[in-house]
């Protein structure tokens, strides 16, 4: 029954949102934040190598 509710909500939500085209990225507060780091600078990470 609860799965049925999920599918219903999914269809309704999908129809409502399908009309929009601009997408945005999202990062949870739980994850390491985007952007510069105190020591790593603007990269926000220590790049060991990149080719």
């Amino acid at each position: 029954m609860i799965l049925g509710r999920f599918i219903s909500a999914l269809i309704i939500g999908g129809c409502l949102l399908a009309c929009t085209a601009n997408t945005t990225d999202y990062s949870s507060h739980e994850e390491v934040s985007e952007g510069p780091g105190l020591l790593s600078g603007k990269d926000g990470e220590f790049v060991i190598f990149e080719r």
């Binding site: 799965l3 949870s28 507060h29 990470e45 190598f49």
Partner: protein, 432 residues
């Protein structure tokens, strides 16, 4: 006439006699002067020789100095461009991490105390990730992310103030490999976020670090409720009724050993599914986009735990967060868990209003107020509510955030009168 001649004679003789000593002394003086001149000439010659010697020394030193100045600096020791050699081109490897420490002040109605904790809202951790662009549209990669929560705010309680609270060691967060294709989607294998993870926790207020979107157990999950009139919680070892037992935001299957598939984005809309070791599985849909000038983000997840017979076996939860151009945000979350084999159900409803602005040039300032109700999570007919205020100040260039929050936890359980728990949670997260 004769007298004149005589006078001339006398005068000449006198002059002659007078000139003799003069001539004699003049001769003596001439001898002395000559000697003196000879001495001076000798001295001058010596000094001239010294000057010439000094000039030669100065010339030599000057030449040596000019040689040193003109000589090119020695080349610095060669530093290898790569500490680690990669297999080839289109490869990237990096490591990253953060430290998140906080003070947790609490008043449980029986006692007041302050604890120094690792904030479970976003734990201290290190990670290593690598990827290679196999083709124009396909990327392969790995992620290893480990957390180390010393005195986790999700574990500390009123009984335990030793140095070994919780795991007190590295614990897994992500240990996975993935293949990501722009048109086919992404497959992930290993320990990591399941498809329904985060379904209850979408939040654009910017205060999740302090206020923990719909997951109020983050700042103080280990604290136990104290029965009115007592000074400590009931229980041995751990409190019987902890905040994290009572406030369950039904957030899918969290992180686990799984295989997960994510579709590509269709206008911001994605589908996700995963199968977890033990037989649990889940489905989820997420959206991230803009409607006019409003940033909208939401996720809806269904999780089935019947494979491990974990209560509740079926969970449906979702959250949606809208952020207006003026910085105002509204977030709502809700979930329900039920079990076909029992009549027990649990549910929660949560709401938050936030405002993000830039008071200082160093970074954004975020404020929020929230309220949540969580029913039947630990025992039937439990009614737990929480409300709080939160603040987060970013220092963007330093990768740092300072935060503070106040929160009240209330539990109503038929037959038992628990004290409220009030906390102030303040700390800093620094990304290195």
């Amino acid at each position: 006439m004769r007298s004149i001649l005589r006078l001339r004679y006398v005068a000449s003789r006198a002059a002659m006699f007078a000139a003799v000593p003069v001539l004699m002394s003049t001769a003596t003086l001439a001898d002395s002067t000559t000697e003196r001149l000879l001495e001076l000439e000798s001295l001058l010659a010596k000094q001239q020789a010294q000057i010439e010697a000094q000039n030669r020394l100065l010339d030599r030193l000057s030449k040596e100095l000019s040689d040193v100045a003109l000589k090119p600096e020695p080349a610095p020791a060669e530093i290898p461009k790569d500490i680690v050699r990669s297999r080839g081109s289109k490869v990237k490897a990096s490591f990253y991490g953060q430290v998140n420490r906080a003070f947790l002040f609490y008043d449980d109605g029986g006692e007041k105390d302050v604890r120094f904790v690792d904030a479970d809202t976003s734990s201290t951790r290190v990670g290593f990730k690598g990827s290679v662009k196999a083709t124009k549209n396909t990327k392969l990669g790995t992620t290893i992310e480990l957390q180390f929560e010393s005195n986790s705010s999700g574990d500390v309680d009123q009984f335990d103030n030793t140095a070994t609270i919780g795991s007190n060691s590295f614990t897994e967060r992500k240990l996975e490999v993935f293949v990501d294709n722009k048109s086919m989607g992404k497959i992930s294998l290993g320990q990591g976020s399941t498809a329904s993870d985060g379904s209850s926790e979408i939040d654009q207020s910017g205060t999740g670090l302090a206020g923990a979107a719909s997951a109020p157990d983050g700042p103080a999950g280990g604290l136990g409720f104290v029965v009115s009139g007592d000074t400590t919680p009931t229980g041995t070892g751990n409190p019987d009724t902890r905040i994290k037992d009572v406030f369950d935001n039904l957030d899918g299957l969290s992180r686990d050993d799984r295989i997960r598939y994510d579709t590509p984005s269709f206008g911001g809309f994605k589908l996700h599914t995963s199968i977890v070791d033990g037989g649990e599985w889940d489905l989820a849909a997420s959206y991230g986009g803009t409607l006019g000038s409003t940033k909208l983000r939401g996720k809806l997840g269904y999780a089935n735990k019947s494979g491990t017979a974990t209560f509740p076996e079926e969970v449906l939860s979702g959250s949606i967060s809208a952020k207006l151009k003026n910085g105002l945000s509204v977030t709502a979350a809700s979930g329900k868990g039920e079990d076909d084999d029992s009549s027990n159900e649990r549910s929660f409803t949560y709401g938050k209003i936030g405002y993000q602005t830039k008071i200082f040039s160093i970074g954004s300032s975020s404020f929020s107020v929230d309220y949540g109700r969580y029913d039947d999570a630990d025992a039937a007919n439990d009614e737990a509510t929480t409300h709080g205020i939160a603040f987060v100040q970013k220092i963007s260039d330093w990768g740092a955030e300072f935060y503070g929050s106040y929160r009240n936890y209330e539990l109503k359980r038929p037959g038992t009168n628990f004290n409220d728990i009030d906390i102030v949670f303040t700390g800093t997260r620094i990304k290195f």
